[in-house]
Amino acid sequence: MLDTLTNILSTTVIYATPLILAGMGGLYSERSGVVNIGLEGLMTIGAFTAVVSTLTTGSPWLGLLFAVLAGVLLALPHAVASITFKADQVVSGVAINFLALGLSVYLVKHLYDGAGQTPVVENKLNAIAIPFLSDIPVIGPSLFKALPTTYIAILVVLISYYLLTRTTFGMRLRAVGEHPHAAETAGVSVVKMRYVAVLISGALAALGGAGLSIAIGSEFNQGTVAGQGFIALAALIFGKWRPFGVLGAATFFGFAVALTLTGQLFNVTKYVPSEVLSMLPYVLTILALAGFVGRAEAPAAVGKPYEKGSR
């Protein structure tokens, strides 16, 4: 019983991690007023780059670094299109998703002689045990003997909470997403803040994707990300665009995955088809948005291109 509990808890943490990172990425972008449907694509490019650069350099840490750079690079066209060119942000995000999947699978086939997936990464990121804390029963092995990306994700949440609520940068970022004209009047560059936010979102989402391919898994193919970017988006909304909200929602969605994976142990899947468990995050998000699980209020200016001098 204790083993099962440990198993479920650590699976929850493992699967929540990429969602936390990508969800936090979405948080920066959307709090600044730019919708980011492209999280899925940004995770994809991160997952791809992490594997290829780990295979090339031999270091998974360099893999993470290059993944972040690739995420920033791919977020750039989204920023240019939706901020500078004032394109529809959803359309631009959709294009980013097309671009990322197309580009990464194209390059995989090109680099590895037409293969559908990359070779396996031998030295992937492994769990790091924190002395003493990891000896605590149940929570020890799941929380304190976790993947490096999990520690990074928790740090990102803590730092982001501090940044957004306690610093001038955070106040400006939120102001740009709620009342861009007021922010501009107060001397904040809306365009600059939004660029920074979208690029941060690319970095974090790509980090989440890298976690999928070189920490949880150890290769990249077309199905590595498989909709996690959209679940991260759901976590962002379910978490009401707040860092700890994202943490909580992502953990809950991770728990849903853990239930489907460990369902056999509990005989859960005997009574509830695993597909129904997989549906759960999406159904809950719809209920949350419809106001049945507490109203979710988006940043006021999200999705609207900023036009100087207009109201």
Binding site: V35, I37, P77, V80, A81, F85, K86, A87, D88, V90, V91, S92, V94, A95, I96, N97, F98, L99, L101, G102, L103, V105, Y106, L107, K109, H110, G114, Q222, G223, A226, G227, F230, L233, A234, I237, P273, E275, V276, S278, M279, Y282, V283, T285, I286, L289, A290, G291, A298, G303, P305
Partner: protein, 356 residues
Amino acid sequence: MKVLSRINSQSTFITSLLSILLGMLIGAIMMVVAGYDPIAAYNALFVSALVQPYDLGETLRTITPLILTGLAVALAFRTGLFNIGVEGQFIVGQLVAIIVGLKLNLPPVLHAVVAVIAGGLAGAVWGLVPGLLKATRGVHEVIISIMMNFIALYLSNALVFHWMSNGADSTPKIMDSASLRIDAVSQMFGGARLHFGLILAILAAFVMYVLVWRTRLGYELRAVGHNPLAAEYAGMSVKRNIILSMMFSGTFAGLAGAGEALGTSGYLAIQPAFTGIGFDGIAVALLGASTPLGVVLASVLFGILTYGGGNMQFEAGVPFEVIRVVFAAIILFVAANVTGRLLGKFSRNKGGDKRA
């Protein structure tokens, strides 16, 4: 909403054409960088999509659902709505059409008609959910639609696996009475899987034209898309039009799914991931400036690129996915009106920019 209607008004035939060329240029650059010959690749693509009767038939088969999903996205665009849920509406259209094709016992023709209508209705119901929530609770349709896509995917897989396949990966074939194949036509094209859905798709384009531009309802749909406040002030019900628009849009998507299920495959398999046909509809609608004729033309192009791209991989060795990048580039160029801006730069010397 404003941004969407601006896309429609900005896109002209010339800017669309330039976006296509620029997109294909990006694809060519990617091929050159990776050491492939772009001219040979594009040549293989177009030749293998169009020359042999079988390939031509398969290209037409590829175009068919794109027209319908493109119309679905375009119709919603006209009301200022972004129906990113076409993919899910397509999936439930497939699902319900297959259920009718397998489980109901009806005479030929009538069986197919009922199955197609059922598929369309399923799409309408799937579109109703985001429409209703947008109209009554003010929730953005994009988010609900994305969630509905995943629910459709898992629902379809659950029903196929637990109910219709006896534990296999796919359902048995539907009854012949529900099939949209026309054997004589198929034989004309060397056994290609093209089917009656193509006629349905072209009819749907006419229906959309008449509905949106020739009826009072269509006028209201467009008015809401242009300026919901003014439409409300003029006595139109914005809520009602949002709901209707999403339902019509879902119907087109559901019909696309029904056509694929009853015409192309004849069965339904467990899908590990989305089909992508619904998402391609977004690209088609954007490129086609959300007009029925534009959608048909854009579908022809994307159909050729998609089907020919698969052959390009065999014949020229260039991975198919370069075509997905070309699609992405075209979407970005159209959405950001890149070519319009370029043209504006050239003509500014003569006419001058009115906004400046």
